[in-house]
Subunit: 786 residues, 2 copies
């Protein structure tokens, strides 16, 4: 996190991310940053020829394997099986041999190597100028895409041209299963687990076609079948020969041509994937063949054109900009672009913490998805938000089983999962993190507020709201004074665990219980089917009402949990160069000190703003800023939002920048494992909720924009109840417009406005800080925007 | 724990434990109960012929293997390696073939099968009357012992006699390495770990002698060499032939004889073991050969006679009795006998929770050893107590390394270990259980008080006291009010963990810090060598003085830890038949409720009695009795002692009985994994400290005897400052006598007496209970003595 260690070699333009030359030592970082996806298929930004690579890989949403978890000391309720995303058969590989030299950027002479990710085209292009060790020079260009139009399809156009001598070209276009995986951060180093994952796919069928091949595999334990198909088109100014080979774990289409100087060979490769637990091999085989045929029918040019059309529509809805700050603008757009890619065609699978950009966190989905991704999707891609929530609702029976196993009523959703069952092996930071259940309910609520769509509650949402409310009742208990406590849980901050009355958790539980009471009132028939009585609803409301929120009156701050402000202070000096602290100190020491990984008390002030008076916000922020390590990538966003809320706009901007830079500049040094989707989504939240003062509210769109001195202006767009809203801040004025038919209820700086066709402009306001800008621990200040 | 499920088929006499007939379903239980040991070698009470068995095995103190711990989710400071006691080459096996039928209690007809463990002879004898499936009848008798005189030696005499027909007898006397292990309770089920342990020994050398053989093996990772030798003497009324075979993992001496009715064959088998990390194979080979020769020189009769001599001396020092209660008397003697066996010739290895009676808890040593075993040994076998403490002191450098790894000053001893490094994979109930450091210091203190021997402090004790005091300083911090807190630790009760201000821990830390301040004052030169300054000593005293002890003034009880009495109550009804609770409910639920595994607040009232007023004792006991599951075998003892302290003598007697019965009646259903050494030692503590009112004190022997209505009288003996003291309670009088030369300072019922040669008799007193007898949760009341 040390700013000096950041990677800054990527050029971020307003609409593109450019790697001007190859940085061999950062090849894994580039694989993640240049990942392409449509939410169903994902391709890491590997070099076409497959090496050098940190983790070459293709992913398919929901494709995973189970394995027995090795518990050194077993305990009741520990999951027996882990889950890990596995590589799908990878169709991105095109190997090139020039005469008898394999093209490898580490060999011969690399005259130029440039890659461009276009945020408007939805393509990754690569231009290479290379000579073999014996001096034969070629120019290579490739463009790849994951089709936004065709869910199963990805495609690559690859051109090689002879420059100044005749060369023999061999292109080997491959489809490879069971590629080795890079070990995921924080996951088991157990060699058996690694072995399971590396050899996860068992070959089922292989077929050749005239221009490609098809492989079908099945996982050994999770019961998934995956089919992958490749097909090729060839264009060459010279004669070219093509032939196809298949083996159980790979298929290869080879092209051979002799190119005179100036001649070139171009192949277009269409790749399709399909997976299923239920469909049989013939159906999957037909499905991928049809997908390839359909894509070929559009031809390459058609596929490319559709990409841009999709993105044009998206940016019309969702564009963001910071006036005069092209890099920051590009970073925010990149973040939204990757959120879009990760969610667009997901349609029924969980979105992992890294989406389909890497195998970090084993591909698991956490509370991040509902907590950070869903609110962005609700505002800019609401159908994808609904998909996310529908997937979660589809796992309700597993969550009920888990609650029963734990001895709780209702439903307890897993902390980390792919298939809906718990996959975490460390219960103090997973099973105990019950707040995920409230975070899910909040996402249902925000979706309804932002879209106005109540149908999701009838389509599986209400059982989630009701059953998690029942779990909160099991978890809570009334103390002697009549106040309700939630003991022994873990909040979002993982540098405390198994604590009592975590403020974030208690407030979110209160919110979830009130939501359950209210929503069951709205849907009495469905509520009755779920066995909800008036007495139960009243009990939820009473428990919510009486929820205990600890407060340290002596210091005038909320302790993050009972007793937190009493704990010993952390020795920041000793850890000033040590990031993250958990790699240098045991949980044992961390948990007993006032050291915060991610600022959950601060996040509570964002998500439950009605619970905190402005002076409390100011004092709490001041207190926790001094004690937050920001070792979690989920921390900068809430810190940014609440700094804006408290009037510390420069600091808000610095945290916003950090959230947006998390992968482009590799803030945490682990972007090679995949993108930090929640932090990317969080940069939009820091922007719109922080500087923009956007709040989801049940009745109207709420805005409270502020402009930091360091920027000239900024703007963002979102959908509110189906209407496109544009917020533009320039100089000292904010202008809000909407493109819907009906007047849109707006609260701007507290003023209630029915926004019609005419834009509304108001003088820009600033929150007057009640305290000086808060300080951070030594070594933990965020990099300021220059 | 349900009294109805207890095993009651063993007859416990005043000086013996008899198994009148074989209980095939409880064969593992008998293996533990009938285990023989001298503290260095241990033999489980397996049937001579090796099967059926739950875990046939021989053990050698300190013989263990290391293995990589499989952490499903790794964390900083987690130990990389586990440790597990492994089987030594087993010389106890003597197989018998009658004609062509192998002797197996499950085949043919077992007319009679009786085993007797003699607490005066130190032998296990077995008498069998058996017919082969074809009706050939033999009588078999065997006697085995682990020599108290010769540390390396165990021996068996085995006789088989023909009854009414001529039979051909083949005896195969074996020495077997790498026998499979029964999996230890609570340890990894990881198949690789099991494999490591099953195949832990690599053969190094094998040799035959005229009457036996020798095997040398080496562990693969822990670097230990173990040599085992067997030799035989034969006596027969018929001709017998003998021959010897060896293989890398076994050696066999076979005897063949034809016996006419009335004729018999007797072999005497001498077994010796030696182990070392440093000595080379030739030296170990010589050592075991010498041990066998020495034992043979004494002959069988000599070995047997020496056993009884040792035990006579022990019982002269340590005998206990309950008048008119032969079974209870025998159970208490059995408990002391097994403590004696586990500690006698240990001499420098750790004593595991099961000593050498089984592989439960992987053979690890815990705080049990210093907390429960050492106080008994100090009073009845002080040299063995010194050995225990010397072993602990020898690991000080490893404990300093561990403290440094954790970020603490000083030394932090491991929660479970064999080689001195931490072997626990679940930190909330191990690393966080820092009280072990104070428990160790208490054991040094008790040893000094009871024996008057200060030399142990000079011989490694003072560094333990000083360095653990330094760790307490690191762990503690001063709160705003000036009070000192110990946050995020775990007390002896493992149904709470990572809690703040655990009363037991805080009081024990106070005691340890005061001890450090005092002892460094007594040894200023040594203290100076350890870098102790007057300022540091003053700081220790000040921290001890200001230690915060939470108190719930509203309820008038001490919370076991901060906030405990605020937690939700446990649903005892749901778990009334579920023992232990942790097998039916996750830690997640357990930790957040008022459910106690072992009563650590109650234990604090025993170990730190000066900190509690009598009315507090009464209220605390009442409160915690209602919330204690007694799922730990360490719980009955402190409950017994404090019940006596509070005047609830019937209940004290019930808990005393439970502690003594833990293995004989298999109270916890897991005695097959080995004996519960701390509970066995604890039964003596419950007896002497509970009914006897014995307290270790710096200046004088303290007694406060009480007689429950259900017993006519009782007596116990101990050594105080080298003088044998006898306490006898009969009817309404207590008599105390001593056999030392000098007057012995005694405090009897608070009266200070210099006890000379003349016994002192006083009328028996009773504590008047301040509250009615406390109640236990449903399903948790102890069985009452009928």
């Amino acid at each position: 996190m040390n700013p000096a260690d950041r990677l800054t070699h990527l050029e971020v333009g307003e609409w593109e991310v450019v790697e001007p030359e190859l940085a061999l030592e950062d090849v894994g970082h580039a694989e993640s940053v240049f990942a392409l996806s449509n939410g169903f298929v994902g391709l890491r930004g590997t070099l076409d020829e497959g090496e050098p690579a940190v983790s070459s890989g293709a992913y398919v949403a929901g494709l995973y394997e189970r394995f027995r978890l090795p518990h050194a000391e077993p305990g009741y309720g520990y999951p027996d099986f882990g889950q890990a995303m596995i590589h799908a058969p990878d169709g991105s590989v095109i190997r090139l041999i020039v005469d008898d030299s394999p093209f490898d950027v580490r060999l011969g002479t690399l005259h130029a190597h440039r890659r461009v990710l276009s945020l408007r085209e939805g393509t990754l292009t690569r231009d290479v100028d290379w000579s073999t060790p014996r001096g034969r020079r070629v120019r290579i260009s490739s463009t790849r895409l994951a089709s936004y139009e065709y869910r199963s399809v990805s495609a690559i156009r690859y051109t090689v041209a002879a420059v100044d001598q005749q060369v023999r070209i061999i292109l080997q276009s491959e489809l490879i299963a069971n590629e080795p995986m890079a070990p995921a951060e924080g996951s088991s180093k157990d060699p058996r687990v690694t072995h399971v994952l590396a050899q996860a796919l068992r070959p089922v069928a292989q077929e050749r076609s005239t221009s490609g091949a098809l492989l079908v595999h099945r996982t050994k334990r999770s019961g998934l079948t995956v089919a992958a198909s490749i097909a090729h088109e060839i264009a060459s100014s010279a004669d070219a020969e093509m032939f196809v080979e298949t083996r159980p774990d790979w298929a290869r289409t080879s092209f051979v041509a002799e190119l005179l100087p100036g001649e070139s060979l171009t192949i277009t490769k269409y790749v399709a994937h399909a997976t299923s637990t239920t469909r049989a091999v013939p159906l999957l085989r037909s499905q991928v063949s049809a997908a390839v045929s359909s894509a070929r029918h559009d031809r390459w040019e058609g596929l490319v054109a559709r990409q841009a059309e999709h993105l044009d529509a998206f940016w019309d809805t969702a564009d963001v900009h910071v006036t005069g700050r092209p890099r920051l603008t590009g970073m925010l757009r990149y973040a939204l672009f990757q959120v879009y890619q990760g969610a667009l065609r997901n349609e029924g699978a969980p979105i992992g913490a890294k989406a389909l950009t890497g195998s970090g966190y084993s591909g698991h989905t956490f509370w991040d998805t509902e907590g950070f991704l869903a609110p962005v999707l609700a505002a800019v891609l609401p159908d994808a938000c609904a998909d996310v929530l529908r997937w979660r609702a589809s796992t309700i029976d597993l969550a009920k089983d888990r609650a029963a196993e734990l001895g709780l009523q209702g439903a307890a959703f897993p902390w980390r999962t792919i298939d809906g069952t718990e996959a975490s092996a460390y219960w103090p930071a997973s099973t105990a993190a019950m707040h995920i259940n409230a975070d899910i309910v909040r996402a249902f609520e925000l979706y309804r507020w932002v879209t106005g769509d109540e149908s999701l509650e009838l389509d599986g949402g209400l059982p989630v709201i009701v059953e998690t409310a029942r779990a909160w009742i099991s978890l809570s208990h009334e103390g002697r004074s009549g106040k309700v406590h939630l003991d022994g849980l873990t909040g979002p901050d993982e540098y405390t665990a198994v604590i009592d009355d975590n403020v974030f958790t208690n407030l979110m539980a209160r919110r979830a219980l009130l939501s359950a009471a209210e929503r069951t009132g709205r849907h009495p028939d469905l509520a009755a089917q779920l066995g909800v009585t008036d007495a139960e609803r009243a009990h939820w409301a009473a428990i919510a009402e009486n929820m205990f929120i600890p407060y340290d009156a002596e210091l005038g701050v909320h302790p993050a949990c009972a007793g937190f402000t009493r704990f010993d202070e952390w020795d920041w000096e000793r850890f000033k160069d040590k990031h993250p602290i958990q790699n240098y100190s045991p949980y044992f020491e961390i948990y007993r000190h006032q050291v915060i990984k991610q600022a959950d008390l601060v996040q509570a002030m964002w998500w439950c703003p009605e619970e905190f008076a402005p002076d409390q916000v100011a004092r709490n922020l001041d207190y926790y800023e001094r004690r937050t390590s920001r070792d979690s990538s989920l921390s900068a966003t809430p810190q940014s939002v609440v700094c804006a809320q408290a009037g510390h706009l420069d600091l808000a901007l610095a945290y916003l920048y950090e959230a947006a830079a998390v992968d482009l500049e590799d803030v945490h040094g682990n972007a090679d494992h995949g993108l930090h989707m929640a932090s990317l989504a969080g940069s939009w939240l820091a922007f719109s909720c922080g500087l923009g003062g956007y709040r989801e509210a049940p009745d109207r769109l709420v805005l409270w924009p502020q402009r930091p001195d360091g920027v000239e202006g900024f703007g963002f767009r979102l959908l509110w109840r189906g209407a496109r809203v544009t917020v533009a801040v320039e100089a000292d004025t904010v202008t809000v417009r909407q493109e819907g038919d009906a007047p849109l209820p707006l609260r701007l700086y507290g003023e209630e406005i029915d926004l019609g066709q005419e834009p509304v402009a108001r003088p820009l306001r600033r929150v007057e800080p009640l305290l000086p800008e808060p300080e951070q621990p030594v070594g933990r200040a965020p990099a300021r925007l220059s």
